[in-house]
Symmetry: C2
Subunit: 385 residues, 2 copies
């Protein structure tokens, strides 16, 4: 039974519903950011992140920094890229556009390979692009939260290693880490940036990332200093290394409460084999998508092989408005998100199904949401085929 | 009686001890960052910040962004200053040095007017510096947390307005906002950046700032775009304006839990006249400094007119090591901080006395700390004169 007061179930693609133990950790008593208790907590948290990302390479470097997930883009853009260097951005929607904007702010010369809404750039065109120019990095939005399109990292990474081996492979994993498989070492990734409030299941406020030894070398090898101060990996790397070695260290004050909550969330995640977590998200997502399809609804991500497992972006049926449906769902205690991709924003809704709402067998969040969706559509005059 | 488990009393100059209601707010159930409930909470929080900073000028703009206090330096450096512009940094210690470093990262041409340890630059030399060059901005660390030196903002601001009226007046208020008087409008300040975990009394994780209409115009008038993405005031200003108008808006996901905690902290602060809060910190600080002096100890900030009211930096007596004294205090349940100013780091300790530890009449934190300090010094072999 939840210690939290009754509240609408938050089923947007982040923030998600949080476990009670995680929320309790948020109200941890105040500790010094350089005291032995918190230093141990932070150090363990960083070590647990290595397991979440499935990396055993000691040269890989985790970062946990106060900020929104967006700060991860600045980490990449201000540290891995120098002004004038070329970056290939795989365009999947709102969030890949944002990453491209951020890269440009720090002087990157960005080439966007844009796919039509609801799809992703395909391997042959990526291979062609990589063969035409020497890119310092390629960025891919693992799950574009604006469309629910899933990118295939393993095959993409193999391609990049084959045709452009010096290109750093950077993943925006904000809506994928802890619900989609990411095998950092085996796939040869160079950077994954994410946030706390999605499948990791910790309240918003932490930028979480993992960079390869190769990426860290690229930071050290810069001809110019990092182009940001708070987002400087050079400023933060020694701090993270010290915390993980259980040594106090200071650059800017971390949030002990958020780090405690992340520690709790990661401890829960790692209490079972991580492969089971990915499989459970896939099975839950398959079930949800089957019901959605059964209701006669289409997904923004049309190709089943390109559908994310932590969220479903659903086109509204002809004649049903999101501004009518979402408040009806709200009255039933279900909070879905509206559209955000500018080309289709009013035409679809988004259903997030990550973390405890899907995994906790005591919770009926998903069943209630699916039932509410069917009822809500009917109340909007929709007749399923 | 506290709902928190027994724990050592955190009396470092931030993070401070937090009120139970604030910590409870940290475990608020999950809400959408664009849902009406949280939008109202965030909007009220921004409006309350105007009261905390004593500004009624509608063109002034508050910001609350996930990040450490350090992010406030990036806000200033990446938005108010363009590459090659001159900035005068008043050098008071570790934190003014950090601000200068941050400004340089974004291309500012920094002149540091450094004062000897434990003092601050004096008005005549500041006037001289301002008359020698046209500075885009002057920065002052209101309380340098490394030394406990307090800068006089009112007189400083009057001087700048007189001799260099176009120069933006920027205050690092990390260790001063909510314990030292700041009269934003009346003093003609252009920017105050601070953090949540000090005298405001909310856990770490939020960069909090206020900028004048003049500063916001300087951002709009830039010849080049802001030099950061996550720290771009151009990206955030419309979001803050929308939240304050109770309209949902999105640039990057804020932390609903931290904003709830900030809302609770600000509600508590503003439940009494803010002048009483400043007076109480002054009275409490005077009492602490009297006891410290009575113990025969000297402060790093030697001039009583230049001593902060939310912290006291205390030189260790001859023969007493911080590495001996601090663990002894820890065993007595009192956590003080070590030194951080590189010239004198091992020679002093820091006692933070902000927020509930000083103001809550049910708490005996300060008395216990002073008693423990006296006992601890005796255990280290110190005999008071």
């Amino acid at each position: 039974m939840s210690s939290q007061p009754a509240h609408p179930t938050l089923l947007i693609p982040g923030p998600i519903e949080f476990d009670d133990a995680v929320l309790q950790s948020m109200s941890h008593y105040s500790e010094s950011h350089v005291g032995p208790g918190f230093v141990a907590t932070f150090g363990e948290t960083l070590s647990m992140l290595r397991k979440l990302f499935q990396t055993t390479d000691p040269s890989a470097q985790p970062f946990v920094i106060s900020g929104s997930g967006t700060l991860g883009w600045d980490l990449v853009a201000a540290n891995l890229i120098e002004s004038g260097e070329d970056v290939l951005v795989l365009g999947t929607g709102y969030f890949s556009d944002g990453f491209a904007d951020c890269l440009r702010v720090y002087g990157a010369n960005v080439t966007e390979l844009k796919a039509p809404v609801g799809t992703k750039p395909q391997l042959p065109e990526i291979e062609k692009a990589l063969s035409e120019k020497r890119y310092k990095a390629i960025t891919v939005t693992h799950v574009d939260t604006s469309t629910g399109v899933l990118s295939e990292l393993k095959e993409l990474s193999a391609l990049v290693h084959k045709v452009s081996p010096d290109t750093l492979i950077i993943v925006d994993g904000v809506c994928s880490v802890a619900c989609e498989e990411i095998d950092f070492d085996a796939w040869g990734l160079d950077g994954v940036v994410t946030a706390s409030q999605k499948a990791i299941g910790c309240p918003a406020g932490l930028s979480i990332s993992m960079f390869s030894g190769r990426a860290m070398k690229a930071v050290q090898a810069r001809k110019t200093p990092p182009a940001a101060y708070f987002a400087s990996m050079k400023n933060w790397a020694p701090i993270m290394q010290n915390y993980e070695a259980k040594k106090p260290s200071y650059f800017a004050t971390p949030s002990p409460q958020l780090v405690h909550a992340l520690h709790t969330a990661l401890s829960q995640i790692l209490s079972k084999p991580i492969s089971e977590r990915f499989a459970a998200h896939k099975a839950g997502s398959d079930r949800i998508k089957k019901v959605v399809t059964g209701l006669g609804l289409k997904q923004v991500a049309g190709n089943p092989a390109e559908q994310a497992h932590g969220m479903t972006a659903i086109y509204l049926p002809e004649g049903v408005k999101g501004t009518d449906l979402l408040p009806i769902l709200g009255k039933k205690g279900v909070v879905f998100a509206g559209g955000i991709h500018k080309e289709i924003a009013t035409k679809y809704i988004r259903f997030g199904h990550m973390g405890v709402s899907l995994l906790d067998p005591k919770r009926t969040d998903v069943d209630h949401a699916l039932k509410s969706l069917e009822e809500g559509l009917a109340e909007c005059g929709y007749k399923k085929p």
